[in-house]
């Protein structure tokens, strides 16, 4: 991996931690066609093929301790019913009504949604370098999000995610 100016040793350690965690899933076959690319400002992009055979773009910003699933859900206009439904789903991930193994613990990580060019990105802000907690949590969040879409918004998957209608 090419080093970028401004990288600190702490950043390197965080990048290595995230890489190792993701790479373990790649080695196991969960994430396929795994690639890593350095970006500006010490950021790293991990790309992999996963759910629905789609290409995922995960940006890690060690300075902000943020893992961002960039443009994960395209074709969702702001404030559309689906936009609101997804945001509601995201908000519920931290509900105390969820069991601990299903809940995103706000003391360890927070999850927010950002909107750009009709695409939703999901930002995981990790607290106190708890990447061993955050990375599988983020992937499990994706898993549940896609199942939520499959269950209740199948037409969106047909129209925007390449899922065959049959």
């Amino acid at each position: 991996m090419k080093q970028q100016p401004g990288n600190t040793r702490n950043d390197d350690r965080q990048v290595a931690a995230v890489r190792d965690l993701l790479h373990a899933y790649a080695t196991r076959g969960v994430l396929r066609e795994f690639e890593e690319r350095s970006m500006r400002n010490s950021k790293t992009e991990y790309q992999f093929t996963w759910l629905l055979d789609r290409r995922f773009h995960l940006i890690f910003d060690p300075g902000a301790s943020q893992l961002t699933l960039r443009d994960l859900l395209p074709g969702i206009p702001t404030n559309s019913p689906l936009d609101l439904a997804v945001r509601e789903f995201v908000a519920a991930r931290t509900s105390k009504q969820l069991l601990a193994h299903r809940r995103i613990d706000p003391a360890k990580a927070t999850l927010t949604v950002s909107h750009s060019r009709s695409a939703l990105s999901f930002v995981f802000t990790v607290k106190r370098n708890q990447y061993a907690y955050a990375v599988p949590k983020l992937l499990n969040f994706c898993n549940e999000l896609f199942a939520f879409l499959d269950m209740y918004h199948i037409q969106y998957l047909w129209e925007h995610m390449g899922v065959p209608e049959e």
Binding site: V30, H101, R102, Y152, I154, Q155
Partner: protein
């Protein structure tokens, strides 16, 4: 050869055919309680609501009178009843031969025999449970029927092939399908492919002209069949030598009855099975050895070390799940599954082309608990022949996998395994049950129970929404009221067998249908996802129930339910006539939304949208009436249950098939206008049909 021939002459000679003939008119094993309940239902019937159209007033009155006047037992016993005369003097009526089938003598096998007779004799000895066919392949189908194998002739080879597939999927027993060379055979291709995707042990038979006519294009219907089933069968052979017919019958049953099942396709030239194929004695046959010698019933058993390793992994898991699939059913491992699940306290979710090998009523059932699937940290896949890829079952990202499968060559495909156990499913589950300590997963079981409750609550919310749409019949109304009728009314919940099909409607009915015993649901669209075989599936399920074969034996007789859409109905609708002529009381629910299920995605394309539409308000119920069945047209939510009750009554009393034409509207799939709209699914469990 002398000794072998001698032993097998006696094997053939000892075959007893008496009493094994085709008995389509067999009296139902209904209890007096059933009778009372059906009478009570009859009395409860009220006149149709204003929204439900009366299809044939005079016929209804006739039926009611006949049912009450003639008495239940006479009608259920199979007394021939001509349909009401739609045209004076021209009633739809079963011709006499149908009444004479069960009384006809069964042909006793003896040499000299044709290749067709020899093949039929092997099928008979192997317990071939039924034949579904259209005319053609005469030497084989006649020999099978004459040998006493229950045989059914239908309207389309594809639908009859689907019927055989469904029959097998709910009985667990091998059945055959047959078509004539050329067109008859190629009509079956889609259904064979579906059976292959389901790993159905289906015996596909077809004639194939004469060997001496190969490549001449003399006459018609010539073609090489085996290349056409490449990739959609377990085994296939063109049988051309009369001396080897017995040997290849052995090949077929060896493949059908061992390992991971799948369709076997045999095509026969006339030289091998026709009149000129006569064989004088057993000693003239090649490889003439019997069932105990051309195949074995021995099954692979698990390595004890693998069982120990599996139990170690299970002990470490907090939220283990058994996924019980196809192999559990075909190895009849449901008792072993229950014993292991209960001892280790592990929830079970079903997958596969049939349902019921783990009862949905069991406290450990996770089949209707989709929200619990995300928590699974150890999945024990048992007999999961059609494997999902990673991510298709939405288990925890760190989930570990144990796979139990008789085919070592498949373990590790699609999903990396932590432990693979090569074994017959039943043997492995018995070993696990025997060696497993009592375990405690109370918190996890409580999570599964909560997920089940949440799922039912959501279904209830869908129903409330569906009831609020009063100008058409919403799928949530059909699914909920059908389930209430089957499981919460007067019927025993485990009694009725279902052919669960349809596209959009299936996404609602699967959420509500439950299975309480093996083979209670045929999961129609499983994996191959073909649209249209549903009436064929209903026929197959109905015959299985009527004959009481295999897993259906304890529940023999009575109506069955089929579910389809208006698009699908068109493909196999004429098998309503097949059900009518054989008195198979299938009630087919047609979700009629005037469109293909794909319409909503193309509704904004003026030059393309029309391809997804039909004429509106089509009368599929009248098709049923015209084919000798009974029809109901339901146009409002309040009309569905009364229509279902009337169809049930007629099915019980007259053994007549029916169609409930549920008038919906295509706009129900548009979520913003008619929530909840088109639904998707989470697998494994009740909604599963991909795997």
């Amino acid at each position: 050869m002398g000794e072998i021939a001698s032993s097998h002459t006696s094997l053939f000679a000892m075959t007893v055919f008496g009493g094994m003939g085709f008995q389509p008119m067999r009296t139902r094993r209904w209890t007096p309680q059933d009778k009372l309940e059906n009478r009570a239902m009859s009395q409860k019937r009220t006149s149709k609501t204003s929204e439900t159209k009366r299809v044939n007033e005079s016929r209804r009155d006739f039926i009611k009178t006949a049912a009450l006047g003639a008495g239940f037992s006479a009608l259920a016993g199979g007394a021939a009843t001509a349909a009401a005369p739609d045209v004076p003097g021209r009633p739809i009526a079963r011709p006499k031969p149908f009444e004479e089938i069960s009384a006809a003598p069964v042909k006793e096998f003896a040499f000299p025999a044709t290749g067709g007779d020899i093949f039929a004799q092997v099928c008979k000895e192997e317990g071939l449970a039924a034949l579904f066919c259209c005319p053609g392949n005469y030497e084989i189908v006649s020999a099978l029927a004459n040998a006493g194998i229950p045989s059914y002739g239908g309207r389309n080879e594809g639908s009859m092939c689907s019927a055989a597939d469904a029959f097998i999927r709910v009985t667990g027993e091998v059945a055959a399908t047959s078509g004539t060379e050329g067109p008859g055979f190629t009509n079956m291709i889609c259904a064979i492919a579906a059976a292959n995707a389901c790993r159905t042990p289906l015996l596909v038979l077809a004639s194939n002209m004469t060997l001496r006519g190969d490549d001449t294009e003399r006459g018609i219907q010539r073609g090489y069949q085996q290349p056409m089933t490449e990739g959609i069968k377990k085994y296939g052979k063109r049988v051309v030598t009369k001396e080897r017919v017995h040997e290849y019958a052995g090949y077929a049953f060896r493949q059908l009855k061992t390992g991971v099942p799948g369709p076997v396709h045999l095509d026969f030239v006339s030289e091998a099975t026709g009149r000129e194929s006569e064989i004088a004695s057993a000693t003239d046959l090649d490889a003439y050895w019997g069932r105990g010698q051309y195949r074995t019933d021995s099954r692979p058993h698990p390595d004890p070390k693998d069982i120990d390793r599996a139990l170690d992994l299970i002990k470490q898991a907090k939220r283990p799940l058994i996924v019980a699939s196809t192999g559990v059913f075909y190895s009849k491992a449901w008792d072993a599954l229950k014993a292991f699940a209960e001892k280790a306290q592990i929830p079970v979710a079903e997958s596969g082309p049939m349902r019921g090998h783990f009862s949905d009523a069991h406290a450990l059932s996770a089949s209707a608990a989709p929200n619990a699937m995300f928590s699974v940290d150890l999945a024990i896949l048992v007999g999961q022949y059609c494997m999902p890829g990673l991510g298709e079952y939405p288990f925890d990202i760190n989930c570990k996998y144990i796979r139990i499968d008789p085919n070592a060559g498949d373990i590790g495909r699609n999903i990396p395994i932590d432990i693979g156990i090569v074994s017959c499913e039943k043997a492995a589950l018995e070993a696990l049950a025997a060696k497993s300590p009592a375990m405690n997963h109370d918190a996890w079981i409580a999570e599964v129970a909560a997920a089940r409750e949440a799922f039912e609550k959501e279904n209830d919310e869908h129903y409330a929404l569906g009831k609020s749409y009063t100008d058409a019949v919403h799928p949530a109304v059909i699914s909920t009221e059908l389930a209430n009728f089957l499981y919460k009314g007067k019927l025993a919940p485990e009694q009725t067998t279902i052919a669960s099909g349809g596209f959009g409607i299936g996404r609602y009915t699967r959420r509500r249908l439950r299975a309480f015993r093996p083979g209670q649901i045929c999961n129609g669209a499983y994996q191959y996802g073909s649209i249209g075989p549903d009436v064929g599936y209903t026929l197959g399920v109905g015959v299985a129930k009527d004959l009481g074969i295999g897993a259906q034996k304890p529940y023999q007789g009575g109506p069955v339910i089929g579910i389809t859409g208006d698009a699908g109905f068109a493909y196999s609708a004429f098998e309503i006539e097949t059900m009518a002529k054989y008195k198979i009381p299938g009630i087919v629910i047609v979700y009629n939304n005037n469109a293909w299920g794909t319409w909503s995605g193309y509704s904004r394309m003026p030059r393309a949208g029309h391809m997804h539409l039909f004429q509106e308000n089509l009368r599929y119920d009248k098709i049923a009436e015209a084919l000798g069945g009974y029809g109901e047209y339901v146009t409002s939510p309040d009309g569905f249950t009364p229509a279902l009750e009337r169809c049930w009554q007629i099915a019980v009393n007259e053994r007549k098939p029916s169609v409930i034409n549920c008038q919906a509207k295509k706009e129900f799939w548009i979520q913003r206008d008619f929530p909840p709209g088109m639904l998707g699914k989470v697998e494994p469990g009740v909604m599963a049909y991909n795997h």
